[in-house]
C-alpha cells in the first residue's frame, strides 16, 4: 500500500517530472525507469517524463497537473538548478501554487554527463530523485523579499569597454561613476595607431568617446583612482574609492601645459609609461595629448621637490590658475550604487618569461605593444619605425603566440594576436618597405572582414611561415647573418628547418589577466576561471553576469577580446545593469535565517558568527533576533545553534536530513 493511500486526505500530493533533455539525459539515464521508480515513492501522485521539461509544453504539463491533480509539491529532475530552477518555480506560481513547494534534481550536470555506465547513471538518478521527494515534503510556503535598488552604476575601468558601458548607461539617464586607475581613460586602445581589419585610426574613433565621457552630465569620472572596498549586495552596494593625489587640483587645471614647459628639468628625461619607456617625460606631465581628463599630474618619484624638498617650483609660478598643490592628500570617496560593471581589462604577457626569444637581452627584440607605439603618429618616433640605434629595419620577423597556446604559460589562444600581427605587418611594410615574416602556428581570422584582411596581406607579399620559433639568437653561421638576429624555425609546410636573419623581431605577446585580478575578484566577491580571468555566470546564456547578482563583466577582464567584441559585451553589460536598476527593486531568495523564539536559550553563540551583524540580542526577552533584511542566507548561525532555535528557510534541518536519508536509502 502506498503512503499517500494511508493518508487519503492529509498527506502532501507530489508530482515528479523527469526531463530527457534530448539525448543529454536520456542518452545515459533510463528515464522511463526513473519515472516508474518515482511512482513508488511516498506521496507521489503523478510521475511523468518529457523531452524538454523547460519548454512551454513541458511547463504546461506541470501547470495542468497542479490544477488537475491538486499537486502541492513538485520535483523536476533535469539540469542544474542554476539554469532552470527559476523557470519551474514560475510555472508553479502560474498554476496558483507557492513557488517554493519545488525541488530541482540535477541529473544532467551531476549524473548523465559525468557517469560512464548507463546502469550506474540510472541508479544515481533514482537516488537523487528519492532524496528530492523526501525533501520537498518538508517544504513550506515562502515569500520573496523585495528590496529597493539604487539607480546608480559603478563602472570600474576606463578602457574602451568601460567607456562604452558608461556612455550607454549615462545616455539612458542613469548616473554612472567611472573609476580608472591610470591618470587618463582610454586604456590599451589609446595606445594603438590603427585598428584591424578596417585600419581606421584608433584615436579618431576613441577620442570623441573619451571627451563625451568627460563632458557627460551623468558621468562622474574619477581617474587615478582605485576601488578599495565593496560592501552590500545587489541593488545596494556601498563602495569606497581611493583617489590618489596627482598634486594638481583637477577642478582648476585647464590643461594648458605651461607648467610642463616651466619645469626645472629643461629636457624630458624619465621613461614615459604611456610609451612603454620608448619615450621620455618630465616629472610633471600629461600621459598623451588627448588624455582625458586633460589634467597634468606630478610624479613624486622623479620630482625634485618631493625628493629633496628643494626646488624653485617654477611650475607653480607658471600656473595662472594656481592648480598645483604639493600638499594634496589622497581622498576617499564613498558611493552607493545598485549595480557594478567590471571592465578592468588585461595585461600583455611578459616576454621575458621566454628567454629563448631574447627580449630584454637583444635591443632589437620588441613586444607588439611597443611597436604599436612606434607606428603611432603621436608616438615617440612620430610614427617612423626606427630601431633603438636609429636604423630603419630592412627585414622584420613577427613571432605569433608568444605566451599563448603553451602549457608552460597560458594554454588558451589569446584571440587577437593573429589579427594585430597582420595589422602590424601591414603598417611596418607600409612605413619601411621591409620584408616582413610572420611566424604562426595557425592563422585565426574568424570575424567580419578578418579573412579578407589576411588575404590582403598575402597579396602584399608579406611572408607567412607556419612554424613556432624555437629561438632568436645572435649566433651567426654564415656571413649574411652577421650583425643580425637569427630566427630559428621549422617551416612546417616546406618541411625544412630555416634560419632567417632579420633586423627587428616583434613578439606578438598574448593577453593575460591583470596581475591583481585575484585581489579584485575577492573584493567584488566574484570568481575567476582557471586562467585567471573573471568568471561569467554561464558561458553562453549569462556571459556578462557573475555569480554575484548585480555585478557584470565587460571586455577583456572576462577573457581575451578584440575591440568589436569588447564594445558589444560592454553594451550587453550596460543593458543588464539597466534592466536591474530600471525596475527599481530586486526580489531576493527567501533563504534567510530565523529564530524560533521558544527554543532560543540566549547563549549568544550565533551573534559573533554572523559576518553581516544581522543578529542582535534582545536583552529584555533574553533571545537572539535576526534582522532578515541584513541576513544573506549563509546558514552559519543555523549550523552552530546548540538548541536548534536558529533555522534557515529553504535549508531547514528537516529538509536536509530527508535529503541525506534519501540519497542513502536508495543506492
Amino acid at each position: 500500500m502506498r503512503a499517500h493511500e494511508i493518508y487519503p486526505n492529509g498527506g502532501p500530493r507530489i508530482g515528479v517530472y523527469v526531463c530527457h533533455c534530448g539525448f543529454n539525459i536520456a542518452g545515459k539515464v533510463n528515464v522511463r525507469e526513473v519515472v516508474e521508480f518515482a511512482k513508488t515513492l511516498p506521496f507521489v501522485v503523478v510521475a511523468r517524463e518529457y523531452k524538454f521539461m523547460c519548454s512551454d509544453p513541458g511547463q504546461e504539463m506541470i501547470r495542468e497537473d497542479v490544477r488537475e491533480h491538486r499537486l502541492d509539491r513538485v520535483v523536476v529532475a533535469a539540469c542544474s538548478p542554476s539554469l532552470h530552477e527559476a523557470t519551474f518555480r514560475r510555472a508553479l506560481e502560474q498554476a496558483g501554487q507557492n513557488p517554493f513547494f519545488f525541488q530541482m534534481v540535477n541529473i544532467r550536470e551531476h549524473v548523465s554527463w559525468v557517469t560512464e555506465d548507463p546502469r550506474e547513471a540510472t541508479e544515481k538518478a533514482k537516488a537523487l530523485v528519492a532524496a528530492a521527494v523526501r525533501r520537498v515534503i518538508f517544504h513550506e510556503p515562502l515569500q520573496r523579499r523585495r528590496v529597493p535598488v539604487k539607480d546608480r552604476v559603478l563602472v570600474v575601468g576606463g578602457g574602451i569597454a568601460g567607456i562604452h558601458a558608461a556612455l550607454t548607461l549615462a545616455d539612458a539617464g542613469k548616473h554612472v561613476y567611472l573609476v580608472e586607475r591610470e591618470p587618463t581613460i582610454g586604456g590599451h586602445m589609446a595606445m594603438f595607431d590603427k585598428t584591424f581589419p578596417t585600419l581606421d585610426c584608433a584615436a579618431c574613433i576613441l577620442t570623441p568617446k573619451m571627451s563625451q565621457v568627460a563632458a557627460h552630465p551623468n558621468i562622474t569620472l574619477w581617474t587615478y583612482s582605485e576601488v578599495i572596498q565593496v560592501e552590500g549586495f545587489v541593488g545596494n552596494f556601498r563602495v569606497r574609492v581611493r583617489r590618489k593625489p596627482r598634486y594638481v587640483i583637477e577642478e582648476l587645471c585647464v590643461g594648458c601645459l605651461q607648467c610642463i614647459d616651466a619645469c626645472v628639468y629643461k629636457d624630458a628625461r624619465f621613461p614615459d609609461e604611456f610609451n612603454l619607456g620608448l619615450g621620455k617625460r618630465k616629472p610633471i606631465y600629461i600621459p598623451f595629448p588627448q588624455a582625458t581628463p586633460r589634467v597634468v599630474l606630478i610624479d613624486p618619484e622623479t620630482c625634485i621637490w618631493f625628493k629633496t624638498g628643494k626646488c624653485k617650483q617654477t611650475c607653480l609660478e607658471a600656473c595662472e590658475r594656481a592648480a598645483i598643490d604639493f600638499k594634496q592628500q589622497e581622498r576617499i570617496e564613498e558611493i552607493e550604487v545598485g549595480a557594478i560593471i567590471l571592465a578592468t581589462g588585461f595585461k600583455t604577457f611578459d616576454a621575458r618569461r621566454i628567454p629563448e626569444y631574447g627580449y630584454g637581452k637583444y635591443p632589437n627584440v620588441y613586444t607588439a605593444l611597443e611597436v604599436e607605439r612606434l607606428v603611432n603618429a603621436s608616438g615617440p618616433t612620430g610614427g617612423e619605425v626606427r630601431l633603438r640605434d636609429g636604423r630603419i629595419p630592412k627585414r622584420v620577423g613577427i613571432i605569433h603566440c608568444v605566451g599563448s597556446r603553451d602549457e608552460r604559460f597560458n594554454r588558451y589562444c589569446s584571440r587577437v594576436c593573429c589579427m594585430y600581427s597582420l595589422k602590424l605587418a601591414h603598417l611596418i611594410k607600409e612605413r619601411t618597405g621591409a620584408e616582413v615574416y610572420n611566424f604562426y602556428i595557425d592563422m585565426r581570422t574568424p570575424g567580419k572582414g578578418y579573412e579578407e584582411f589576411y588575404d590582403r596581406l598575402l597579396q602584399e607579399g608579406v611572408h607567412f611561415i607556419r612554424g613556432r620559433v624555437a629561438e632568436v639568437t645572435d649566433w651567426a653561421i654564415t656571413p649574411d647573418e652577421e650583425g643580425k638576429l637569427i630566427i630559428r624555425v621549422e617551416d612546417t609546410l616546406v618541411g625544412a628547418v630555416r634560419r632567417i636573419p632579420v633586423d627587428m623581431v616583434v613578439l606578438a605577446v598574448g593577453l593575460e589577466p591583470q596581475p591583481d585580478a585575484d585581489e579584485v575578484r575577492r573584493m567584488f566577491n566574484i570568481s575567476c576561471s582557471k586562467e585567471g580571468f573573471f568568471l561569467e555566470r554561464h558561458p553562453k546564456l549569462a556571459p556578462v553576469s557573475t555569480f554575484t547578482d548585480g555585478i557584470f563583466l565587460a571586455g577583456a577582464c572576462q577573457g581575451p577580446k578584440d575591440i568589436p567584441d569588447s564594445v558589444a559585451q560592454a553594451g550587453a553589460a550596460a543593458a543588464e545593469a539597466l534592466a536591474l536598476i530600471d525596475k527599481g527593486f530586486v526580489e531576493l531568495e527567501p533563504n534567510t535565517a530565523y529564530i524560533v523564539e521558544a527554543l532560543c536559550s540566549g547563549c549568544k553563540t550565533c551573534i559573533g558568527l554572523c559576518p553581516y551583524n544581522a543578529i542582535s540580542f534582545d536583552e529584555a526577552r533574553m533571545i537572539a533576533v535576526i534582522n532578515e533584511a541584513l541576513c544573506k542566507g549563509c546558514g552559519t548561525c543555523v549550523a552552530a545553534c546548540p538548541s536548534g532555535a536558529a533555522r534557515q528557510h529553504l535549508f531547514e534541518d528537516a529538509q536536509i536530513f530527508q535529503e541525506i536519508e534519501g540519497v542513502l536509502a536508495y543506492v
Binding site: P355, E356, T473, D474, W475, I477
Partner: protein
Amino acid sequence: MSYLYFPGCSLKGTGRAYEESLLAVFRALGIPLAELADWNCCGATAYMSIDERQAFALAARNLALAEAQGASDNGAIQLIAPCSACYLVLLKAQRHLMTDTAFRQEMSGVLPGNMGDPGQIRIRHPLDVLVHDVGLQEIARHVRQPLRGLKVASYYGCQIVRPFALFDRPHDPSTMDDLVRTLGAEPVDWPLKTHCCGGSLTGTMPEVGLRLNYLLLREAQRRGADLIITVCPLCQFNLEAYQDFIRRRYPDLAPMPVLFFTQLIGMAMGLPPRELGLQRLLIPVEGRMAALSKEGAHARA
C-alpha cells in the same frame, strides 16, 4: 656535510682528469667525498635505447647502494654524479622508482640493502654543490692565483640543465659564469652554452658530429674565449679530442683548450697541475696561462 661520489665509467677512462681535479678541489676545500662502493654503469643513453626498464634497474642498484652506504649519515644522502649522462639517468630512474610502485616493489626484493625511500637521496651535480652548498664566497677564499685576463666560455651541454632544471635555468644558465668571475677570470657571453655537442654521434656519424663541434668551437673562438670549460666528460672529449679532425674539414679553427670546470677551479686555487690532470689534456693550457701572466706582468710594469 659529506657526500657520496658516483664516478661513472667515463671518469675512469677518457675523463680521468675530471675525477682527479674534482677530488683535488674537494680535498683542498676540506669536503670529504666517499666513492660509492661497487657502483655500476648508470644505464645511460645507449642502454636506454635497448631496454629502458633494465636501464632504470641499473640506476636503481646504484641508488640502493647509496642508501646502504649513506645510511649512517644523518639527513638526506647526497650523491654526487659529475657526468651529465649519469646525473640525468640517476634522476630519471629516481623519479621512475617514486612513481612506479610496482617497479619499486619488484626491485626491493633483489637489490642490495633494502630499498626504503628512493626519494631521500639527493642526486647532485658537483657544479651545484660547489656553487650552492660550498658557496662562491668560500671558493673565493681559497683562490690563490686569480685567473686575471683569462676569457672563459662556459659550456653546459645538455643534460645537466635539461629536462630537470634543478639548479639553473634551462635556456640561459649562469652558475658557471658566476664561478668563473669568482676565480678572477672573465666569462664570455655566448649563445651556445647549452647547445648539444652531439654525444656519441661524433664517433658514429662523424660528418654530423664534427660539424656540431666545429660550430661550438668556432663561436667560442669568435667571441674571444681563451678556453672552454665543461661539466661533462663526453662534451669535453668531443670538443677536445676531435679538433684535428675538425681542422681538416674546417681549417679556420685554431686550437682551443677544453678543460673540466674543476680543473679551472684547481688552477685558481694554485693546486699542482699534476693533481688536476692537466698533463692529460690534448691541447695544453699552460701556454695560454704563461702568455697571460706575461701580459699581466707587462700591464703591471
